[in-house]
Every structure is written in C-alpha cells, then in structure tokens.
C-alpha cells in the first residue's frame, strides 16, 4: 500500500468510532486509490455501515481521520463528489419517480438530469409511478439513478444487490460498471455475497470486529497467497505459523491458506492461487476464533 494521499478517493488513518456499546470501528488505516472498484467485506456488525456513515459525514469519528477525495467530511455535509446509496434506499414513498428526480435536480448543483432520466427509462420504470408502489428492484434502480445523476467521483453502495433478483443484480452492476468505464469513477460497495464481487472488484477492504484485516489490490492479494492442499500430517502441517492465515483439516486432507511466500520449500502440497472468495472467507473465518471448528467447515460448503 502506498502512502501518498493525492490519489486516494478514500483514506483512513487510525480511524475509530465508539458507540455506547463499544467500538464499532477501531484503528482503521487504509487507502482506496481513485478509479478502483472496491469490495467492502465483513460479517454483520463488522463496521461496514459505520465506515460508510463516517465517509458521508453523518457520523463523526471518535479517533483518527477519514478523508474523502482529500477532504475530511465536516460541517459542510457530504462531499459534493460523493454519492452514497444506503441499504434501505431511502426515497420518499409518496413522491412520483419524476418528483424524486426533480428533487435530485433541485438539491444537487452538478446534477445531470438527462442522464438520471435515461437510467430510469432504461430500467423500465414509469416516471409517474409513486415510489411506494415500485418493486425492490425498481426502487434500487431509481435510487441508483439519483446517486449517479450527481455524476459523483466516488460512489458508495451499501449492500446494493440485497433483495434483488438475478436479472436486476446484473442490470444494476452493468449500470455501475458502465459509469466506471465512462468516467473512471471510484466505487466502494459492501456485500455479503462474495461471489457477486468476483470479476467486479479489483480492490478489497475486509473488516471484522471493527478492524481492517486485509486491504489492497485484489491481484496483489491473490499473488501474495496460496491455497495449499495436501495429506493431513500427524505432526501438523509444519509451515511457518506467522505465514499461515488458516488451516483446516478434513479427514485425511489438510487445506492451508498461506501468505508472504510461506509456501516456498514446502513439499508434497498442491498449490493453488486462491479465488477472491476463498481468500476473503479464510480471513473472515480466522478473524472469528470463537466459532467452533465444525461450523467453520460448514460455512465453506
């Protein structure tokens, strides 16, 4: 990870947020370079939504700093070049779609009305329909049109694909990726469904229990890791413990995720480059040691 701040769309240094019940986010330091599509991954309660709320300025950090396109969110509200689509896609239910778009126009100086209209039309949503009558997929498309109508440099989506059918998921991602292709917009999207991220995200921020466990360019991360599969050895796998992210044994076989070249010199193993999903799952499992081994294996299936 580089330390330059100039090219970061989002940057956190020692970022922390404490609620009454405890720390939701702690000691987070990472950088999301501009032009990337980043997956924000973590279990429920990992701090994903808190991180997004801190970025928009809806919440203030308890400690550390967060910078959006070089600026700390503060009194001036959300950074003008940041668009945020919350999980519940808040839209006034009694507005018509046309009224929602006109509100977007009135509230946002850089608003691209023709573009927002086109996105809604492409989604096949009737402009005269009231928001309350739309399906989940249609509501997402309208909310996305409002977010993209601002022509943001940074788009943050909290679980954008949750409760969408497969066709709507594909269409939403196509719309977002087309915007990336056209403008080089940076995207941060959180999701539980890691398979949705494969091929979409080229950057990963993995949160667990309020801390960043893994961050960086997906290809670099994959190149830095190997999935080793071999026979289970009575004396243990014998790999350097500091390089082992996670080791799991099933019957006669052992599967170990190793980082930083820890696989060099080991014999009798089959080496695979992990997929993004395998990598993220191994880190998520190893970050929750309180789970018994048996459930850990079930989550892989």
């Amino acid at each position: 990870m580089t330390t330059t701040t100039r090219d970061a769309a989002l940057e956190a240094v020692g970022l922390g947020k404490r609620y009454r019940r405890g720390w939701a986010l702690r000691d987070c330091t990472f950088e999301l370079p501009t032009g990337r599509v980043s997956a924000l991954v973590g279990p429920n309660g990992a701090g994903k939504s808190t991180l997004m709320a801190l970025s928009t300025g809806l919440l203030r950090p308890t400690s550390g700093v967060i910078r959006v396109l070089g600026k700390e969110p503060g009194g001036g509200g959300t950074h003008q070049e940041l668009a945020f689509l919350a999980q519940d896609k808040p839209l006034y239910r009694r507005f018509t779609v046309d009224e929602v778009l006109r509100a977007g126009q009135a509230l946002n100086p850089g608003w691209d009305h023709a573009y927002a209209h086109r996105l809604v039309r492409e989604a096949g949503v009737n402009l005269d329909a009231r928001v309350g009558t739309l399906s989940g997929g249609q509501r997402t498309r309208v909310a996305l049109a409002v977010a993209l109508g601002r022509r943001p440099q940074l788009l943050m989506l909290d679980e954008p694909l949750a409760d969408l059918d497969p066709l709507a998921r594909e269409e939403v991602m196509q719309t977002v990726m087309a915007e990336v292709a056209e403008t080089g917009m940076t995207v941060l999207l959180s999701s539980h469904v890691l398979a949705d991220m494969e091929g979409v995200c080229d950057h990963l921020i993995l949160l667990a229990a309020g801390r960043v466990h893994l961050v960086g360019d997906v290809e670099d991360l994959i190149a830095d890791h190997r999935l080793m599969i071999g026979p289970r050895r009575p004396a243990g796998h014998g790999l350097r413990p500091e390089s082992v992210v996670e080791a799991r044994a099933t019957g006669r076989q052992e599967t170990v995720l190793v980082r930083d070249g820890g696989w060099h010199g080991a014999t009798g193993w089959e080496l695979h480059e992990p997929t993004l999903e395998e990598l993220a799952m191994a880190y998520l499992r190893s970050a929750s040691p309180q789970r018994p081994a048996r459930t850990r294996q079930e989550t892989v299936a």
Partner: protein, 125 residues
C-alpha cells in the same frame, strides 16, 4: 465480433478468462488480423464486469503482440494464432492422438487422462 463469457465460479481470474477466450478465438480463426475487439464499455454492458479488467486483459494481449490499440478507434487484432502445429494433420497432434489411444487401451477414464494431462502440462508450462 467476439463475445466474452465470464464464469465467476471458475476460479480463473476474470482478465485471464478474457485473454484466454481471445486467444482461443485467434487459434480457431474466429478472430482475424484487422478485427476490432469490443470496447471496455461494450464488454461491461454485456457482462457487468469491471472495465479495468477488460483494459488489463487488452494490455496483456498487446504486450504479447496480438492486438494493438488505435486511439479513438478501438483495439484491433494484429496477428492470428492459428498454428500449423495444432492443425489436424500435424505430427504433434498425431502423436498425442496415439498416446490417447494407448491411455484408453490401458483402461484410463476421461477424467484420469485429464488429470494426468494437466499434471504433465503444469510441469512444462
């Protein structure tokens, strides 16, 4: 024009799938010198993958001298990969054909042969 198919569950990096499918089309003669590859935006519109991935795949193909970008026009095929060594009547092919027949006669199933072939392939490439 070539149409890419992305298998998100294959475990093969997406950019590599694009590279492999392009090369495959070049080998089979489905893509010929002078043909234009789809733009990043066209690929994204069809597959919902990250456009950076498409550009990365095209850079890789360019690095291998297979395609060239022409500013403002797109990315074009420079040379074909249809090789004489892989043709129906090439000696390499007939020797592999003979080996396959032996493997079958020895009682190996298709999957045995695939595993064996892949293992040997991996030691050489």
């Amino acid at each position: 024009m070539i149409e890419f198919r992305i298998d998100r569950r294959s475990g093969v990096a997406t950019y590599l799938q694009l590279v492999q499918q392009t090369k495959h089309a070049l080998r089979l003669g489905l893509l010929m010198p002078g043909d234009r590859l789809p733009t990043a935006k066209e690929v994204v519109a069809a597959t919902a993958i990250n456009p950076n991935t498409v550009l990365k795949a095209y850079r890789e193909l360019e690095r291998e001298g297979l395609v060239e970008p022409r500013p403002g026009l797109g990315t074009f095929v420079r040379r074909s990969l249809a090789r004489p060594g892989a043709a129906e009547d090439a000696p390499l092919r007939s020797r592999l054909d003979g080996w396959m027949a032996e493997a079958r006669a020895a009682g190996l199933e298709r999957e045995d042969v695939e595993a064996l072939f892949k293992a040997v392939l991996d030691t050489h490439y």
